[in-house]
């Protein structure tokens, strides 16, 4: 029982227009049976200051990450989370958040690891909703628990581990961090806390395309022609490429994964969630410094 897609013309040119909805679409469909709106933010308290009516909160630190192992929750944990969020296996889930959907895209990527079929992003996130002058509420919904099946997480298709990345060298890599992190001038995004990588720089041969290039000033995704200029002309991606995107912990690269996969239609894109906090601390993996991608290391 999925809900009709947003027919907005600005989405029609994308490979998977069914993955995006506009703020207006969300407002018009609020409360429709089968639709669950999810807010996922960087700031763990932002939802509590006001959110879209009926939206439930899913936090990536406290809900999606395993509390002990550096990994995501398992099938049982996901089923439990879905149940208490009022999400059924056939629900249409629309995710939105702060920082132009940075964390919302991350949550969407995790939903996809569990094969939840109909999960979409609200284009522009909170910023666009607010700029449109739409309302928030403080009222927290109490969803009726659902019977969500226990689905085993599938890590093989859209997720890359460090050994996968080593085997991938020679194929396109996209580094979506800031230019300072890419060149090795620093290990963290400007203004963010140190997250413990022992070395700075980038994976050799990776092209630098900061994630935010994919969004326009109002926080919505850029049109396809501009995305082509950035990723095909700028970073040299071409049809048939097998691509791995990474950042610092895999959250910004989820955003780029969404762009490459659903907007531009590259079928083989994986997100390396270990990202720089893992690679930059691994013993004896190759690292390049400076603003140039550097050569593919010989194996």
């Amino acid at each position: 029982m999925t809900i009709e897609r947003d027919p907005a013309p600005q989405f029609a040119e994308f490979s998977h227009p069914e993955r995006l909805v506009s703020a207006q679409w969300v407002e018009e469909h609020l409360g429709e049976p089968g639709l669950v709106v999810v807010e996922s933010d960087e700031d763990v308290l932002l939802y509590e200051t006001g959110h879209i009516r009926g939206a439930v909160k899913i936090d990536w630190h406290t809900d999606l990450n395993d509390p002990v192992t550096r990994d995501y929750i398992d099938g049982e944990g996901f089923a439990e989370l879905m149940s208490r969020s009022g999400i059924s296996r056939d629900s249409t889930v629309v995710i939105y958040g702060d920082k132009t959907n940075w964390w919302a895209a991350y949550a969407l990527w995790v939903f996809t690891l569990f094969g939840h079929e109909d999960v979409r992003l609200m284009d522009g996130g909170r910023a666009k909703w607010e700029a449109d002058g739409r309302e928030y509420t403080l009222e927290v919904p109490t969803p009726t628990p659902t019977e969500y099946p226990i689905v085993e997480r599938s890590d093989s298709v859209i997720r890359a581990f460090r050994d996968d990345v080593l085997a991938h060298l020679g194929n396109p890599l996209i580094d979506v961090r800031s230019p300072e992190e890419y060149s090795g001038a620093r290990t963290t995004v400007p203004g963010y806390p140190e997250e413990g990588a022992l070395r700075a720089g980038h994976i050799p041969s990776a092209q630098s395309v900061p994630w935010s290039k994919a969004v326009a000033e109002d926080g919505t995704f850029r049109p396809l022609s501009e995305l082509n200029t950035i990723y095909r002309e700028g970073a040299g991606l071409k049809d048939g490429d097998d691509i791995v995107a990474y950042c610092r912990i895999g959250e910004r690269s989820s955003h780029t994964w969404f762009v490459l996969n659903y907007l531009m239609g590259f079928p083989n894109v994986r997100n390396y969630d270990g990202s720089w906090t893992e690679w930059g601390s691994l013993v004896r993996v190759p690292i390049a410094l400076g603003t140039e991608p550097g050569d593919v290391p010989s194996r």
Partner: protein, 145 residues
Amino acid sequence: MSEQQIPSQLAEIRDDFLGFELRDRLQLLLEFANELPELPARYADHPDLFERVEECQSPVFIFIEVENDIVHMFATAPAEAPTTRGFASILVQGLSGLSSAEVLELSDDFPQTLGLSQAVSPLRLRGMTGMLARAKRQIRLKTAV
């Protein structure tokens, strides 16, 4: 080492947090965020005096005033960063009125004692540790003879 004696106004804040379940600790943090006072007029137009706390994910600026050895802390953080505002507000309320020695003696781990690491994640909590470290540094600079 036995538990350090901490000034009563800080102990009170800590005990308030620890008295709640995880979910309600977040609510209390939100109350702190809402209580972060506006800057006094004499500082409102002086962004140059404020130090950016780089450890925080959102732009937060702090400024410490020491008058007759009594500490006053001021902070600004945007409304769309309530967690950071909450952290700043805890320190503004917890440190202001103490003597400079009392603040300098406070354990750098004070943020870790509030029972928030599970509720907000250890990573986010680092922002508050950074704020406290910078506050202490400013006090050291201002009280150096």
